[in-house]
């Protein structure tokens, strides 16, 4: 044994070095290849399909931007975009606000914190389908909340947002925030716990009030957490599909349609694959438009910090 180690075969050192160098690449290669094909390859394919007159099956004739013109001529697409703006904005803002508030309240060294923490986090363990189905029953005027309040004697109680075309999209916000706020809370709580205690102690010595400490020290120092939460919430918002499907199925009519449900119904049930692909590409652009500035700004910030 010892001789083998002390007298290596000529060249085995370089082989080992070569192996140490190549092995990680070799192990990562399949994953890389998979993501190149199945993520970027299919993105490219979808972009190409959006430039073709594809209907039932893919068709590779080139028609330029005709599908995009048809898309922006479609009233339903505009409804979907408007709904995405409402839903995306409220979902992200309320999710962050409620999540942060819960985290700060839980951070006050209260009793049974662990229990409360898991209680708020549990909705995240559910799939959006379950959340959607549950809220569908809760918000249904003839089954849920309205029915309950009326049977308790509040005859004038009315909460019919689910069946009101002008309000239906807000029920999606309610259910979405209910599900995600706990997760955002967990993110913020981890951030709060990561803050150096000595800074806070120093501020207390200087006589800063608790409110000032939170406003001037703690919340600004959680910038990276805000950033992560924002990215997670906004991509959930843009690709949101299952929640709407289970809660309103895009209804009443198509009043609560989102781009994802629009894409599904045109590409898969109406045999308009090209139009569906065009709407999918637009979704990608929306996501990029939201995220790229954030990522860029955050990257610049980090370089400045260095």
């Amino acid at each position: 044994m010892r001789t083998a180690v002390s007298a290596p075969v000529p060249g085995s050192g370089s082989v080992r070095r070569w192996l140490a160098d190549a092995l990680p690449k070799a192990v990562l290669a399949p994953t890389l290849l998979m993501s190149v094909i199945f993520v970027y390859g299919f993105i490219a394919w979808t972009v190409y399909l959006s430039l073709t007159p594809s209907r039932l099956l893919p068709n590779y004739e080139f028609v330029g931007l005709a599908q995009y013109i048809a898309l922006f001529d479609n009233e339903r697409w505009w409804v979907a975009l408007k709904n995405l703006a409402i839903f995306g904005f409220l979902f992200v803002v309320l999710g962050l606000a409620i999540g942060l508030t819960l985290a700060i309240l839980l951070d006050q060294r209260i009793r049974i914190e662990g229990f409360l923490r898991s209680l708020y986090l549990y909705p995240m363990a559910l799939s959006f389908i379950v959340t959607g189905a549950a809220w569908k029953w809760i918000l249904n005027p003839s089954l849920g909340l309205e029915h309950l309040m009326r049977s308790w004697g509040f005859q004038n109680f009315s909460f019919d947002w689910l069946v009101n075309p002008d309000r239906a999209i807000y029920t999606v916000v309610i259910a979405g925030v209910w599900q995600s706020a706990g997760f955002v809370m967990a993110l913020f709580l981890a951030g709060l716990r990561g803050i150096d205690d000595s800074i806070i102690k120093a501020a207390q010595v200087d006589g800063a009030s608790l409110f000032t400490i939170y406003r001037r020290i703690i919340i600004p120092s959680m910038r990276p957490v805000f950033f992560s939460a924002l990215i997670i919430l906004s991509h959930i918002a843009v690709k949101s599909f299952d929640l709407v499907m289970a809660l309103t199925a895009g209804g009443p009519g198509f009043a609560s349609d989102l781009p994802a449900t629009f894409m599904y119904s045109f590409a898969f049930t109406r045999n308009q694959l090209g139009l569906g692909a065009a709407s999918a590409v637009m979704m990608l652009f929306i996501l990029a438009a939201v995220l790229v500035p954030f990522i860029w700004a955050e990257g610049r910030q980090r370089r400045q910090d260095r």
């Binding site: 209907r55 099956l57 893919p58 009443p252 198509f254 049930t269």
Partner: protein
């Protein structure tokens, strides 16, 4: 090393050859009939084919309207490995035909004299460029009105035969504290109701002009506006919980006497019979107001895909023959609630609703009032159908005027 490579190559080729697309005698059928009565109906077909010595390979993809099944089917066809047959109906058959992947059933059809057994309107749906490519299994009538007579009696209302009478009946039932119309506010249900209204208001010729030929004048004209205003009246007769409700829950409201009537195809009958109700006594099946003598049909069919091997082709032939046999059509439709698509099946075991449906089917076929149901994908391509759905459902869920709605419908009719 070389030997290893050789062995691997041999292994791969063996693996390849032992996994041919299909053993010759296997018949693979894609469908989405997975619930109670429907599953029993498919089991009958399986039994008949197994009796003929073929192996049945069930390819059921669940999910109500068959959207999931269609997605699976597309990937199978694109990869050059289509099933023997798939449950496809209406103009979608033409779209598949245009892709050049369907089998020609003319020999089987000729031997079985399909032309004399099927009404020409139905036969046309089964053909692509004059050749049979599909076999029909049943006929559903869509323009039914399901009535709970007890509710009408309590409210002192008369069961309506025109849309004017309908308005009075609705008033009386609502005044008596009950729901007049049980409805589920989903786009296809809104359009199912609207299609019966348009047929009742404008008649079969108008219906064909508007929803089969997509004639701009008919889609945007005064008759269509009238149909929309009737739809508005119906909407006012529904309850607040309607949006998003499934059709069978709406049917349950009629069964339980909470609501007076429902406009729905004859698959609703299954819900009544499952609840132990007798037609003519506990519930009535009547044509929707103004549509007596006219018939909107919804036909399920199996489309045959081109097969490579001779054995698979023989299996396909046997499948088509079995589907068209009177035995299968009888037992299948007894389970499903529809009526046989072909002539020459004994109706002795069927209930009164099915007998009425058959009589009207044959009568309307002769008088030219047998029309395809556009809300159920029998008249126009899926893209146009979807665009019309959007207009009808938007009208139903807003305070749009009938005039604007008709204009939008004409615009939607241009969707290719």
């Amino acid at each position: 090393m070389k030997r290893l490579l050789f062995a691997a190559a041999l292994g791969a080729s063996l693996l390849g050859s032992t996994l041919p697309a299909y053993p010759a005698e296997e018949v693979e059928v894609l469908h989405w009939w997975t619930s109670g009565g429907e599953a029993r109906s498919v089991a009958e077909l399986k039994k008949m084919l197994e009796a003929k010595g073929y192996k049945w390979k069930d390819f059921a993809v669940a999910g109500g309207g068959g959207e999931n099944a269609m997605t699976v089917l597309k990937s199978r066809v694109v990869s050059g490995n289509p099933p023997t047959a798939a449950q496809i109906k209406g103009p979608t058959i033409q779209e598949w035909g245009a892709e050049g992947v369907l089998a020609n059933l003319d020999d089987t059809a000729k031997a079985g004299t399909w032309d004399s057994l099927l009404p020409p309107v139905v036969a046309n749906v089964m053909k692509y460029q004059g050749h049979y490519v599909a076999a029909p299994v049943n006929v559903h009538r869509v323009n039914w009105m399901w009535v709970n007579p007890e509710v009408f009696k309590k409210a002192g209302a008369k069961v309506p035969t025109t849309w004017e009478e309908f308005a009075t009946a609705c008033d009386k039932i609502q005044k008596a504290g009950m729901i007049a119309v049980a409805h589920g506010g989903q786009p296809w249900q809104d359009s199912t109701v609207f299609e019966s209204v348009a047929l009742g208001v404008g008649g079969a010729d108008f219906y064909k002009k508007a929803f089969v030929q997509l004639d701009q004048a008919a889609l945007g004209g005064a008759t269509m506006q009238k149909a929309f205003s009737v739809l508005r009246n119906i909407q006012k007769c529904t309850d607040k919980g309607a949006p998003g409700r499934d059709w069978n829950l709406a049917t349950a409201m009629v069964i339980q006497g909470k609501a007076g009537m429902q406009f729905m195809g004859d698959w609703a009958k299954g819900e009544f019979t499952a609840a132990g109700k007798t037609p003519g006594k506990d519930f009535l099946c009547l044509p929707a107001p103004g549509t007596k003598g006219a018939y909107t049909f919804n036909i399920d069919s199996f489309v045959m895909f081109e097969q490579k091997s001779a054995g698979a082709k023989a299996g396909q032939k046997a499948l088509a023959e079995a589907i068209m046999s009177p035995e299968f059509q009888e037992i299948f439709n007894l389970n499903k609630g529809s009526i046989p698509a072909r002539a020459g099946v004994s109706m002795a075991k069927f209930d009164q609703c099915a007998k009425d449906s058959t009589a009207e089917f044959q009568g309307s076929s002769k008088s030219g009032t047998l029309v395809p149901s556009w809300a159920h994908g029998m008249a126009i391509p899926a893209s146009t159908q979807g665009a019309l759905f959007d207009v009808v459902t938007q009208f139903f869920n807003s305070d749009m005027s009938p005039k604007d709605a008709a204009q939008k419908l004409a615009q939607a009719g241009k969707t290719k």
